[in-house]
Symmetry: C2
């Protein structure tokens, strides 16, 4: 009889695979078992700790709905989501960053230069740029799905005062690959901390804050989809984003502009700005498929 | 600004811990992050694979109820539960083995020598032994919580034909540390395979079978609680238990006994057996606290 021991359990696990198992499944499951077993042995995990871990997973399942996926949030605060983004990013293209749970399907199409902020007040920003390929050529007809928090720190799906499409919209680049819109500055906010992820953050003395950001999903025919975020360089949480989403090429300067300079030359903007505002330039670079 | 990269994300994660974090929490979470990040990097996990893993976890949460905990089952088939048992076992005491999901609280107390099988038919077995300490001294007054499948392969909580206490009972050892009961032989069975764990077993070409076994929880004042299982040495799944529960010291021989030899001398047994039967000797050894 084969005696399974702490020394041979990983090999035993791998030995159980059927001969026809897909090689990639085999590779992933072998690596998972090696690391899970390594974790248990390295920490000499007790039965009580194992039971607690299973309770936390059950709670994660219990709190998860179609609107709030606590497993994604758990992956985010453990750095797993960002690591998947990093290893799948190409150095010549714009870095990807976490999708997060607040994207909505079917955001409304918006005109180039549209005003995003509706009646909301706050520091007005003009966001503009060119979608490019890795050789620097502009990409016309690319779609840019943008979303952000309202000035109260909430996304539309979290906030009874906003309809679902508030601060969500899809722009299409013009023949020069350009996009532009006006909005109010997004704010730093906390990830939901009333569930198991909040418990985990508490237990490790971590805060639930994220630096403010604009979310982007950029798509163009023949190019890899880019899911990313754009951060201001003066946010206090830039160096300690609780979901590890910040990359150097995603940090931009909010450049203060004088009153009376809006709209700038060459822009057709639907918003009206009398006072000073800030300008953000961000050029998403896409990788060919 | 600190740029989080695939190379420094684990150190960044560890750097986020608050100064007052409990050292054991720090140790466990650091090891978890190291292994999770190592797994992602080693496999170069794609976004699609990451999304699939999160879907499987959400499904695991959706299918989990108070009666069926799919997270425990996942831990079982990944070998994690058994590994926790192994590293927390003491070489001088009886090995522990998986609790499984079919234990019931408040099983009925049973007399020494009671008949466990009620009206069920099958190969009759007499199970007997002495609960001992690691020096071989008998422990009087120890409680032994026993449960097993009915001959149809189902535990009481899975089977409409059985009441909840069917094949569940608690024995107390006599002044010589002895316990004894009669029952029918438990059978090999499959773990639930209609959920994400079944999907995982399928994808890796694994079967869902467990060798037949009797479950034991042995408790005695001043000793560590022992959760274990006892297997017959002729079960076809002994070398490929899908939850890795088999240990050498938990395998016993079902010794055939001739008709007319029951009850054996020295036993007071409430069951009646006319034909041949089998005898199992199993002495649980407990570790002092």
């Amino acid at each position: 009889m084969r005696t399974v021991t702490a020394e041979n359990i990983t090999d035993t696990f791998i030995g159980y695979f059927g001969d026809d198992t897909d090689p990639r499944v085999k590779q992933i499951m072998s690596s998972l078992a090696q690391h899970l077993h390594g974790f248990v042995k390295e920490t000499q995990l007790t039965h009580d700790e194992w039971r607690l871990a299973l309770e936390l997973l059950k709670w994660t399942g219990d709190i998860t709905t179609d609107e709030r996926n606590e497993f994604v949030l758990l992956s985010d605060v453990l750095g797993v989501s960002s690591l998947v983004d990093m290893i799948n990013s190409h150095p010549e293209a714009t870095s990807s960053s976490v999708l997060g749970p607040f994207h909505v399907s079917d955001a409304p199409p918006m005109d180039l230069g549209a005003d995003f902020k509706r009646h909301y007040e706050g520091e007005i920003i003009l966001v503009e740029g060119v979608v490019k390929d890795t050789s620097g050529n502009p990409i016309a007809g690319a779609t840019i799905d943008i979303w952000q928090t309202a000035p109260n720190g909430m996304y539309s799906s979290q906030d009874e005062e906003q309809d679902i499409n508030s601060f969500h919209g899809i722009f299409t680049t013009d023949e020069n690959g350009r996009y532009a819109f006006t909005t109010v500055r997004p704010v730093s906010y906390t990830v939901p901390s009333d569930g198991p992820v909040g418990k985990l953050l508490d237990a490790t003395g971590r805060h639930p804050w994220r630096p403010s950001h604009l979310h982007y999903i950029v798509n163009a025919e023949g190019y890899r989809s880019l899911v990313t975020e754009v951060f201001p360089d003066d946010d206090p949480y830039l160096d300690q984003d609780t979901v590890f989403g910040v990359r150097e090429d995603l940090v931009t300067t909010y450049k203060p502009q004088k009153a009376g300079t809006f709209p700038e030359e060459g822009f057709e903007l639907s918003g009206k700005v009398d006072g000073p505002y800030s300008r953000i330039d961000f050029d998403p670079i896409l990788l060919k498929k």
